[in-house]
């Protein structure tokens, strides 16, 4: 079983703010960590490997420092790691990121299963996996909750379809993204970290991809453009109600804010 896990390095805390007067970003620190949702993806892959045998490879696209994320994955038990890095990828939106990742996956080799996290804490789109699956030409399933059976040809799993849980069998290869309830990620082990110290993280650049056309990557390959960023308006003001028919006011408020609609 060849399993690939897509992981990403994200800022340590998303606690950034914008100074409303100057528009300058205030960031407490510039440290990074492995996207917490990707820990579940990696744990899923490691458990499948324990069950079905095989190799777990991790891939990340990011700056050279993102190698740290791969080292962390090694310490958790990943067998091999690739870092997709090139200035040509700067400014990538979801489409360009997914396309670059899919090109790298094709360059690395054939996989039975590609596992993604539910979302990243910085991009926060939960879209990269599904777009990747399209470029890879494999089916995709998101919000996977449990993997019941995996055999050489197919996987049987349960995913959260919003209104219901769906149990399905999918022929391999497939790309899945897993929910955070799927399992408890193991902690990185000091022993494995020591043992993997000398292991090389292979770098992939634009030159290694089959499609070398720069305009398909980075800012040129990104249809969406950020026009501006600004601080959200916070409603920190309290509206005090102290007279009249308070229950009626509350009822109207709940109705107006759509809290009385049937949840679906």
């Amino acid at each position: 079983m060849e399993i690939l896990v897509l992981i990403k390095q994200v800022p340590l805390d998303s606690n950034v703010g914008v100074d409303p007067k100057t528009g300058v970003i205030k960031r407490e620190n510039a440290e990074t960590k492995l996207n917490p949702y990707d820990l579940f993806a990696l744990e899923t892959a490691l458990r499948l490997k324990e069950l079905a045998g095989g190799i777990v490879t991790v891939l990340t696209m990011g700056p050279p420092q993102a190698e740290a994320a791969i080292r962390e994955a090694f310490a958790m038990g990943a067998d091999a790691g690739y870092l997709l890095t090139d200035r040509a990828f700067a400014g990538s939106d979801v489409l360009a990121t997914s396309y670059a990742l899919s090109q790298a996956i094709k360059a690395i080799g054939a996989f039975d299963l590609v596992v993604c996290g539910k979302q990243t804490t910085d991009g926060d789109t939960a879209q990269v996996g599904s777009e990747c699956s399209e470029f890879l030409g494999v089916p995709c399933l998101a919000n996977v909750q449990t993997i019941e059976v995996i055999d050489p040809g197919a996987v049987t799993l349960v995913y959260d379809a919003g209104n219901s849980f769906i149990r399905a069998t999918v022929q391999l290869p497939v790309l899945i993204s897993v929910d955070k309830d799927i399992c408890q990620p193991r902690l990185p082990s000091w022993n494995r970290m020591q043992a993997s110290k000398g292991r090389v993280v292979k770098k992939i650049t634009l030159d290694d991809l089959a499609d070398k056309n720069r305009s398909h990557y980075g800012l040129d390959g990104s249809p969406t453009q950020v026009v501006r960023i600004f601080p959200p308006e916070h409603e920190t003001t309290t509206e005090l109600w102290d007279d009249g028919d308070l229950a009626s006011r509350l009822f109207s408020f709940l109705q107006e804010k759509k809290f009385l609609q049937e949840l679906a």
Binding site: V18, G91, P139, A161, V226, P232, L240, L246
Partner: protein, 399 residues
Amino acid sequence: MKTILVHQALIPNPADAPKLCPFGAIAFQEGSVSITEQCRLCLVCVKKGPRGAFELQEEQATSQRPVIDREKWQGILVYVERYGRSIHPVSLEMIGKAHELADKLGQPVYAVVAGDAVAQVVEELAHYPVDVAYVYEHPAFKDFRIEPYTAALEDAIGTLHPSAVLVGGTNIGRMLAPRTAARVRTGLTADCTFLDIQKNGDLDQIRPAFGGNIMAHIRTPNHRPQFATVRYKIFDAPSRSPQAGQLAVVHRTLREQSLHSAVSVLSETPKGAGVFIEDADVVVAVGKGIGKRENIGLFETLATKLHGQLACTRPLVEDGWIDPRRQIGLSGRTVKPKLIIACGISGSVQFVAGMKSSDCIVAINNDPQAAIFNVAHIGIVGDVFSIVPALLDKLAKRG
């Protein structure tokens, strides 16, 4: 290709430079500042950084981007998500928004529906402001499976050439929208909280980034269609008109090949109500102010009526009135529901730490000085035992 040029000499405090960038794309290593792959060319460093230190450099375009013909792409398409025979309410909300946007430009609203038996859904759509419905009816569409559903949406886009496509930010929509956007090679903006349209058809998309600490305004100027997903309960659903309107229904057939899927659905289990207070969209929290254990039922009823969960402060757990898993706060759980109603809670720092980032905080307390009113959006000064029963009465009358 555009890049940012760094002039090291013009940066007085290079170690602080990384803080400038919202995307973490400024690196400070071995005494020098550089721009990394994370750069989104938001130009914050150019505009707000040390004078002249960061410079935008526009290289000759390596390839001329084809200019899209905006005239060819008109109308707003809404993907209608159905479960069984019903329409997901987020789809109706998007139809409302699509109608508002399309109206500005005098363009049509399109709907796409797929399923094994969709007559009822299509009939229902006629009561909403939709001009044309593209209908894909086939046993292959019984359950959601990515390949046939993508093929249907792709077919509608290829035939109708809509300027924008709106898909609900549901678990299903979050699979379908990216898959289709990638297939037609266009941009996709996730979870927009605000949408508007320019005269030339460019969609203004605003979404929260960094866990809501920053808002980003996004456009897709050179590609069509412009894809956006929208979460449930962000926009208003239009009112259902009693008479069915002039809905043009177009039945489409796809090639058998496009209907093939590697996924076979074995079974489907409808979801029960959530048991974890963290997952609830609505939380009714109770504190010492509810007086005695026997009163809990009243608030439980309110929580059920609002499809929410009951939660509490620590003293109620200590007294053994309520399950510890329902405690909010520093030594309990953190919740961030769309709505929390705090009943008879003073608002101690330890409690507030576990709920302060909720979207809408309503507090009912008979002490106007209660600290909970400092964090509440709506502070109701009054007796919970007169307000809550009266509210339940109104909810019951409503049905």
